[in-house]
Each structure stands twice: as C-alpha cells, then as structure tokens.
C-alpha cells in the first residue's frame, strides 16, 4: 500500500479511537473546554489530511462534523445527546469509509448527503455568522516523504532536499522528484487512483508528477530490496523501552560507582570501570538510535508550501537550512506539528499575493526560511518569512473584540507585547475560515506543545517586512542535567536548563536578602530580583533552618521571568533520568517528576514553571502579560538606587545614595572639637572634619550630632545632619536642577519632593579646603592633569564621578552617550584614559569599546564601569577592548585602576 495512505490510515484509526472515548466523555462533561478543543483538533486533523490525499468523501463528512464541533467549542451550540449521537454517527461513517479505504485503497461509492445535511442543519441551528472568527490547527498532510525506518530512497530524497541549503526552489524540487526513481514514485501513484473524484483542493502538480513517473514501479522495487538488506524496521516502542532500560542501567551504574568510592583497591574496581565504560557507550548508542535529523520533520513541508502556493496563487520559495541537525525522536515528533503549522501560517497569512508583493516593492516570490542549529545543549529552529508581518491593528481589534484587554490598555503596551496575543486560544486574524486555516486553534497549540517539552518560542515581527519565530528546545528529554539543592534537610533537583546562576547570600557578604513588606528580594548587580523561599513554598517552614544564616539563591529563568529560589544548600549537578510522579502526586504543580540519585535515594524534581506560577506569577505559560509587566518592572528597577533620606538645615527632605555613605554615626557633642572655626572630631585615630550642609548651619553644642560619614581612601568626612529619616529604594530622576552648590537638584523620592545632595561637592569641600596639601602629595604625579573621558548615560553618575575625579587631579570631560564620545574622537580631541559605562541606551559599552579600538583611539586605555562584575562580564569586556573593569560603586577601585591604566600606557 501507498506509504502516505497507510500512514494516514494508521493515524486516522488511532485518532478515531481517541475520538470515540473523548466524545463520550464530552457528553458527560459538556462544558470542558480542553476536551472540546482536543476533539476539535482531532477531527480537524483528519479533515486536513483528507484534503491533501484527495479523499473528498471523507473530507466532506469531516468538514461538516468539524463545523458542528466548532460551534460547540465557541459555546454557540449546546452539547446535547442528540448532537453527540450525530457526531458519533458521522464518526462511524468516517470509520466505514476508512475501513473500505484500508481494503481497497479507494473510497467506497455512496453519498453522505443526508448526514452532511443533518450536520449542517445542526451547525446552522443558530446564528451562522460567527464561524469566521476561528482558525485552524495543523491539518496533518501526511506527506511524510521520509519515514526514517523506511530509510533508503526516502532518506536520500529528504537529505538531498536538506543538503541544498536555501536553494530548494519549486522547480528544483520537481526536478528531484522526477529524476529520482524510488519508492517515492510508488506512493505517489495510488493517490489519484484512490480519488474517484478529485477534491476541490486537487493538485495538478501532483498529477503531473505521477504521469511523468508512471513507469517507475519496477526500479523502485529492486532498489527497495537492496536497501532492505541494510536496514531493519524497529518499532519505536522497542527503542523507547531500550532507552528506559539504559536509563535504569545508567542510574544503577552511578549507584555502584558511588558505593565503590568508599572501598579503595577492591577487586571490583576494574570490572566496574569496564561496566561503567560499556554503559556509557551503550547509552550513547541508544541515544543515537533516537536521534533523527530535523529534516525528517521538514520533509513534507516543501509539498505543503507548494500546494498552498498553487491554491492561493502565490509564489513561495521555501529555504531549509541545517536539515541534518539531529535531535531526539521524541522531541522531533512533538515539534513536527507545530512546525508544519507555522510554515502553513507563513505561507497562508504571512506571504502576500504576487500583486501585493509587487505593490509593496518586493520581488514576486516570497521566501520562507527554516533554519535549525545546535546551541549549547539546545536546538534552535527559526522560521521566518519576508511577508507582510503581523498586522498590529487587526490584532488590537481582535484583542478588544475578545475582551482580552481594553483599548486603553493596548495603547500603553509595547508592540512586542501586543504581538504576543497571537499565542492566545481562539485567536486568528484570518478574516475568513478556509478549508486549511482560520479556525483559531493555531498558535496557542503551537506554544503549548513547545512548552510541554521545555522549550520556548519567541516572536519577532515587523509589519510589511515579515515575521520570524525562534523556537528553542532541549535536545533530549530522557536524561537531563539537574542541580541538586537542599532545603530543610530535604533534597530536590532543579533542571539545569532553567538555572541561570547561583548566588550565595549571607549577612556579611556582598549579597544579602532584603525584605520589602516581608517579601524577600535580592539586589543582584543592577536589578532587583524577586525571591521565593523554597521552604515556604513547600510548607517546610515549620522546621528550623540549618545552623548558619547563609543561604543560596538559585537564579532561575522561566520565559522572560527571572526570579530567585532561596535554598539552604547547593550540592552537585547530576545527570538524572526524569520519571513521572505517581498519579496521586500529579496535582502538585511544583514537581515535574522524580528520579533516583546515584546514592539510591529518591528525589523530587522541581518544576520552575510551576514555581513561577505559584509565586503569583500565575501562568507564566498562559499569561504573557504579567510576565512582561514583571520584566518591565525589573527593567525599571535597574535604575533604582537605595537612598538615604535625611533632614538637615531646613525641613526639606534630602537624599544621598546609600552606597556612598560609609557609616552613620552619632557624635557626642562634648567630643566635638573646633579647629579654625570648623568642627572636627577624633574618629578612628584621625581627625575627621565635620561639614555643615549649608554655610552657617547651626552646629549642636550639646547632646548628639548625627553624622553621615563619607569615607574616601583612608580619610573620612562627616556631613552633619539633623535627623536620619529613612532608607528608600527609588529611581533618581532629577526633575529640577538647582544652582545651589551641594545639591544636584530635586527629585520625587518616595512620593515627596526631595533634594538630592551632591556628595561629591562636600567631599571636594572637605578635601580641597582641609587636605589640599596632603592630597597633593597623595595624588601621584602621573595623574595630575591627565585627561579622562567619562561616558555614562546617567547624569547622577556623571555628577558624582566628575568631582571625584577632579579632586583626584584629573581633567574630566563627560559624554552622555557613546556617540557623543565618538564625536569627540572625530573632532580630534585626545584623552589619556576613557571610562565608560556598559549599559547605555543606543550604543552600549561593549560596542563603544569595539568602535574605539577600531579607530584613532585604539591605544587609549579603557576602563569599563558597570554593576556587572562577574568573571564572565570581565571576559566579555576584555574581548570588546576594555583594559579593566570596575564596579560602579567602588570609587577607590576606580581611582586605583585609572592611575594604573595610565601608568601602564
């Protein structure tokens, strides 16, 4: 029998079996939307496939049932026993046709007019207007050109297609089909034979093919038998079992190895090593049997695109790059349908008709590009087209129409976020329901399927230019690398894939957990990370935490949402085999499975998605809005600074960045001494000048004087204040500039107008007035008058660092962005050292450094100024051309680095 037909039959029989069960369940449970959606998809798949195989009778029945089901799903029709009976009757009809098809490879004679009329009557039972609002899932076109196990000729075709990167035009494809004698000919032949009356979607191209290859039968058979000698068909189930057994073997091996570590020089050591090695090889081998080139999933796409192009009167070129990229069979199966769907979407909705393309100034042929490649344990698949892109206005309309958001809300949304709505259920902007798409079970299914296997999908679309989807999925699902952590003595595994980094938090380290209204947060570099306590989440809080206040934070990323999980301990990473949890535990969304560790103990695997959802980040998967909102919030918090609020001189609150304040002291006024009419105090063995906030500030003569101590190198200066009010975290946005010395301006902080104090001014005052001579000595000769170019987009940092650097003897020029700085370069100005921020709007620090290195300033030492100072950032900075990397708030390090950089240069 024809391969295509037999695959279709297997699939349909399977689907019909499921359908029977599901429809009966539906009758009992008429309001279950997931059930309805599922049934609808199954019928839709059957219908779609019929269309491609040219089985008009089957298609007509399926289409009519689908219409009724569509109305059920949209809640426009009530699920009554009569309706269910009718659906079941049509399923029986489908079964009957299928069984005849199985025996004779042709649809039986007969009419279904009565049944279809009944179905249509039911569908039309109420209003008929709204069917247009729904869209299609993936009709399975069953044009599996390369069934892997069938190997041989099929494979040669698919690989031939695959290995022509980007060059498979329709003509070439046809040429391949024509010039290749092989089983492909055989499958093609019976299709029209099985079509007594060609379907409306009949494909003239397909018929051409058959006509041209009519005599290929005998050569195909001989080729087939030769190939058969080298390949055997193995059922997937057998391979799955093998894989499971090997997984078990790996676990047992790990267990043995762990035991053996305790016994040195045992006679078991050598055989165990051998066993271990063989196991690893076996694991590799079995894994390989599961690996298939992604081209297998693509094999039917050229045909689909070609047929669609014919049908829609478009010219479409399908480019497939990296078709030999391999991935796990299980994963491949799961992404096959989403991929097909997306390509169809691109062809159907994305690419414009020839006239429209020409009108838009494009070439008449649209291009859909598929690109697959490996990237760090993941496979990335990009699907892009150069069509019309997503129509934002239509999406907005639809969003409002479906009540997903109000127009006002949409106004404030970034473009990217509006585009995300296409991943919602029942969302299709296709104006009308065609036989292939437009029913609204599209992109949401795609996303659900991809997320089910731990993947992510990103969308990027520009109106008029085209859309591009990027799918990122793990290579295999069977064995994953997991981080083992402990919480209140219990151990848990977290899939390594979602772990971004680990942070150790303790009271005396750089990172400490802070509380906002009892909600823990962590300041991590320049952002505020929401934290969840694993103990609290798992109700383990009743047990005391283990001794020591150190805890670890597992920074986890789910989609666009990054958060930290507080755990007590972090152990090793281990390769684990994910096993499903017992049915009774499946309702616990925080676990994705369990596994047995090398030491033989059972351990639960945490599901980062579930945790994110449980943190109130409800449905990271379902609800992109909230995730986006959080992401924006996190972005906003990047520019937040901890501020110390105090009063001094007058009633207005004043603020100074907390990072600049070394200590808060209360000085006993009796210990205050006067020198040259200014107050000083003996502080840590030295004299510390006390600076008034304004000249003529009334210094307290008795009691205690609160003082903010600013420390710089080994000198300190005290700023006298009346009262320390609060510490708040807020953004500094200077709303009003001021001419008054010592103030940077006024900003709204914590809802009040607050004067932001220029700490640099007071430092300068103290040092310039009091330590002039001394500081001159300390300033090493080489830095006097050296020219520094300071590039930073934040006025705050510019204002803070400029006086600091000036005091240290540098001649400072500032630029508020990289372009200004590069303009200085072109103007012919020269500097001895460049200090640049990394995160800047427009050109960032890395790009700036590259630009500098490529130009006239290539010899000028560059120092990066950033709040990211991990080893990775450092490397990245060095690669870009920075000589050194300094933390933003570490002024001493900056001065030291500058002086070093200059002397080296």
């Amino acid at each position: 029998m024809d391969d295509l037909l037999s695959e279709f039959l297997t699939e349909t029989v399977e689907n019909l079996g499921t359908l029977d069960v599901e429809i009966v369940r539906l009758e009992q449970n008429p309001n279950d939307p997931s059930l309805l959606g599922n049934i609808f998809r199954l019928v839709h798949t059957i219908k779609g496939t019929c269309g491609f195989l040219g089985l008009p009778r089957l298609e007509a029945v399926a289409h009519a049932s689908e219409n009724v089901l569509g109305r059920f799903r949209d809640g426009e029709l009530e699920v009554t026993p009569q309706a269910v009976t009718l659906i079941l009757a049509s399923l029986d009809r489908i079964k009957m046709i299928v069984s005849v098809l199985e025996q004779t490879e042709a649809e039986p004679e007969g009419q279904d007019g009565d049944l279809i009329a009944a179905l249509d009557a039911m569908a039309a039972g109420e209003t008929t207007a709204t069917i247009a609002t729904t869209a299609a899932p993936e009709p399975e076109p069953a044009l599996e050109a390369a069934e892997a196990a069938d190997a041989g000729m099929d494979d040669s075709i698919s690989s031939e297609i695959g290995t022509r990167p980007g060059e498979v035009s329709l003509d070439e494809l046809e040429a391949i089909f024509q010039s290749t004698p092989g089983p492909e000919d055989a499958p093609a032949a019976p299709v029209p034979a099985a079509t007594p009356a060609p379907a409306p979607v009949a494909k003239p191209a397909g018929n051409d093919l058959v006509a041209k290859n009519g005599g290929g039968m005998t050569s195909a058979e001989t080729a087939d038998s030769a190939v058969a000698n080298q390949n055997i068909r193995v059922s997937v189930e057998l391979l799955e079992n093998l894989m499971t057994m090997v997984s078990e073997l790996v676990l047992t091996r790990n267990q043995l190895l762990q035991i053996m570590r305790r016994y040195k020089d045992s006679e078991f050591t050598v055989p165990l090593q051998r066993l271990s090695q063989v196991t690893s090889e076996l694991q590799d081998g079995v894994m390989k049997t599961r690996m298939q080139p992604i081209g297998n999933a693509w094999a039917k796409l050229p045909r689909i695109v070609r047929d669609l192009a014919h049908e829609l009167g478009k010219k479409i070129d399908l480019k497939m790059l990296g078709a030999d990229t391999e991935l796990d069979r299980q994963v491949l199966e799961l992404i096959k349908d989403p991929l097909t769907h997306m390509v169809r979407n691109s062809a159907d909705h994305g690419i414009e008709g020839i006239a429209d393309r020409l009108a838009a100034g494009k070439t008449d042929t649209g291009t859909i590009t598929l690109n697959a490649y490996h990237e760090g344990g993941h496979i990335i698949i990009e699907i892009s087209d150069d069509g019309r892109g997503l129509n934002i206005e239509k999406i907005k309309q639809k969003v409002v129409q479906n009540g997903l958001a109000s127009e006002a809300e949409l106004e404030g949304m970034p473009l990217q976020q509006i585009q995300q709505y296409i991943f919602k259920a029942g969302f299709s902007t296709a104006a009308q329901v065609t036989s292939v798409s437009g029913r609204g079970v599209g992109m949401d299914v795609v996303r659900t399927n991809i997320e089910k296997i731990g993947g992510t999908i990103e969308l990027n679309s520009r109106e008029g230019k085209g859309s591009s989807f990027t799918i990122k999925i793990p290579l295999t699902l069977a064995i994953v690398s997991a981080l083992v952590v402990a919480c209140r003595g219990e151990r848990f595994a977290i899939p390594q894939i979602s772990v971004v980094e680990l942070v150790r938090a303790s009271n005396n380290s750089e990172h400490q957990i802070e509380k906002l209204n009892n909600v823990p947060v962590l300041r991590l570099r320049d952002r505020l990370l929401p934290l969840v306590s694993l103990a609290k989440m798992l109700n383990l809080d009743d047990q005391p935490a283990e001794a020591g206040s150190d805890s670890f934070i597992v920074v986890t990323q789910v989609g666009t949402y990054t958060f930290g999980i507080i755990v007590d301990k972090v152990f090793d990473t281990e390769e684990i085999v994910v096993k499903p949890v017992a049915p009774i535990l499946r309702s616990i969304s925080l676990f994705s499975g369990n596994t047995i560790l090398g030491d033989g103990s059972v351990i639960m695997i945490l599901d980062p998605n579930g945790i994110a959802a449980a943190t109130g980040e409800i449905g990271v998967a379902q609800d992109e809005n909230r995730a986006d909102a959080i992401a924006t919030e996190i972005m906003a918090s990047r520019t937040r600074t901890s501020l110390l609020i105090f009063r001094a001189g007058d009633e207005n609150p004043k603020a100074v960045p907390l990072a600049l304040v070394a200590r808060l002291e209360e000085i006993d006024c009796n210990k205050m001494e006067w020198s040259d009419g200014r107050p000083v105090v003996q502080y840590r063995g030295r004299l510390m000048p006390l600076v008034p906030i304004v000249p003529g500030y009334e210094v307290k003569r008795s009691g205690h004087q609160p003082v903010l101590v600013f420390a710089d190198q080994d000198r300190s200066m005290g700023l006298m204040v009346d009262e320390i009010v609060d510490i708040v975290e807020d953004r500094i946005e200077i709303n009003m500039k001021t001419e008054r010395p010592g103030l940077m301006g006024s900003a709204i902080i914590g809802g009040k107008a607050t004067e932001v104090v220029d700490a640099g001014y007071y430092l300068q005052q103290a040092f310039a007035d009091w330590f002039d001579a001394e500081s001159q000595q300390e300033v090493t000769a080489n830095q006097i008058g050296k020219r520094v170019l300071l590039v930073d987009d934040s006025p705050f940092f510019r204002n803070l660092l400029t006086p600091l650097l000036t005091v240290a003897g540098y001649d400072v020029t500032t630029a508020d962005n990289a372009s200004t700085a590069l303009a200085y370069c072109e103007e012919g100005r020269d500097f001895d050292v460049i200090v640049s921020d990394i995160e800047m709007p427009g050109m960032n620090g890395f790009d700036f450094a590259r630009a500098v290195r490529g130009g006239r300033w290539q010899e000028v030492p560059m120092v990066a100024l950033s709040s990211h100072t991990s080893a990775k950032d450092l490397d990245r900075g060095r690669d870009a051309g920075f000589n050194d990397y300094v933390a933003k708030d570490d002024r001493d390090a900056l001065l030291q680095t500058l002086s070093q950089s200059i002397s080296v240069a």
Partner: protein, 165 residues
Amino acid sequence: MANDLVTRRSSEAVDVSNEAAQQYVTVFVANQMFGFPVLDVHDVLGPQRITRIPLSPPEVAGSLNLRGRIVTAVDMRRRLSLPPAEEGTGKGMSVVVECQGELYSLMVDQVGEVLNLSHEAFEHNPSTLDPMWREVSSGIYRLDKQLLVLIDVDRLLDFSRSQAA
C-alpha cells in the same frame, strides 16, 4: 523478608487450587488485623529510607527506591484515620502492592503470616462500620480470636474518594 514470602507462596501454591480457600497476607495496623490477597502483594519490606514529598496528601508518607523503581509510600494509619503510631512501637514494615501499573508501599505496623481463609468465614461489611473503612474493605473474615478486615487495594489507593469523603 521478601524471600521469606516467595518461598511460602510457592510452598502453599497447591492450596490455591482449593476454591473455597483464599490466601491472604495479614498485616497489623493499630492492633487491627487487615488482609491483602496474596497475589496482590509484590514485596514485604522492612524499614526503608523514605523521601518526604512536600505538599503531598497527608496519606502519602513519601517515596522510596525499590530496586530502581520509584514507589509511593502510603501511611496506612493516616489512610484509615487511625492515630499515629507511638514512638518505638512497630517495626515499620511495608507491603508493596500494585495499582494501575504503579507500585505503592503500604506502611503498616507489622506484617503477620500468610493465612488460608475459607469462604465460610467470610462476611460482608457490617452496616455500622465506619464509612471510611467500609469504602476500602471488601469484607470481614471471622478468625478464632479476632476479625480480619479484607482490603480492596484499588479502592484503598483511590485517593479521590477519600478526599471527597
């Protein structure tokens, strides 16, 4: 312990042919005797290292590794609404049963002998029996000195019922 059972099972296999008699593994929970059909029981285990599962239903004590399979441990006292065991009583044994392809380890105080029980001693649940017990018991056997409550494993492990109850 597991071996113990297997030998006994095979030595007494002859008796199974006797239709009037059935073999049951007896266990004790809070001094009450319960019975499981011998063929339902996969293993009898001594005290095991059990991994607690946070957020799980109270009946679930955790999970354990039985020769590479993950087995869910069910606390029979909790399941039967009995008071928790006092410290030091019972050896903490378990019988492993299968239900819908999943293995469960039922934690009991003690595992007794395997008994041949004839149908004559069988009674339906008395109507006054606690509804929760009635739910999981398929009948009572009158023994010489005590009563044996016959457990229906499928119903015992159908937690949705107990939650609804």
